[in-house]
Symmetry: C2
Subunit: 128 residues, 2 copies
């Protein structure tokens, strides 16, 4: 069985294709190479988005600072907008910019359900 | 052992990163999904290239028309330039545009060593 993260990634991948206006790619070896690589890269030929996908069971999650640094690094070099796609159980996807995440005292990034509903935007808004 | 095609793809992937100016992505499930997906997608934030990689043992090779159609379809939707990267044994990479390929009577695209050296450009020219 595929992990929750992979299933989430595939779900979003198809969601972009289903719009008929966006093309999407899933990255090979994302997370297993030292080179930065987002989970998804999508474009409608005007905007290009580099997306890290996160599916959470709990209402708060911590991300390593390296993960966000790599997303930003890749996006800058590629010429894409960096986004974090978040799905909590029993809730739809929401999309956050890296600068919307909260940095904890120990230097991790935290994402809570609250933050995601306060700062995040929905799929339909993202692709407008 | 990885297939020749996969090794070729990885070689090119690293070649783009090594320039320090280009970011590159390898596609997951390229060839195993009905949705179009090039082997590599690279960008220096100004130009974005969608690349199919082919490593050949023989001096002529035939490609399915669907493969080229999918490359063009993806590239158009994504806003990328479509390219075919070709490497014959004991020769370096050369890069061809889909329209440079020759269509056979049966509707396949053919790539020969001769065509590749006549019409193809080298890596250094491609990334200029």
């Amino acid at each position: 069985m595929k992990s929750k993260g992979t299933r989430g990634e595939r779900e979003l991948f198809h969601r972009f294709w289903d719009t008929k206006l966006w093309a999407a790619l899933r990255t090979a070896g994302s997370g297993s190479t030292p080179l930065p690589a987002p989970d998804l890269l999508v474009s409608n030929s005007k905007r290009c988005l580099a997306i890290e996908c996160k599916v959470f069971k709990n209402s708060i999650k911590y991300l390593y600072p390296e993960e966000i640094a790599q997303l930003n690094e890749f996006a800058e070099k590629f010429g894409a907008e960096p986004w974090i796609a978040i799905k909590f159980d029993y809730a739809g996807w929401s999309f956050l910019k890296p600068q919307d995440l909260i940095i904890t005292k120990k230097g991790y990034y935290s994402i809570s359900k609250e933050l995601s509903s306060k700062k995040g935007i929905k799929f339909e808004q993202l692709i407008q």
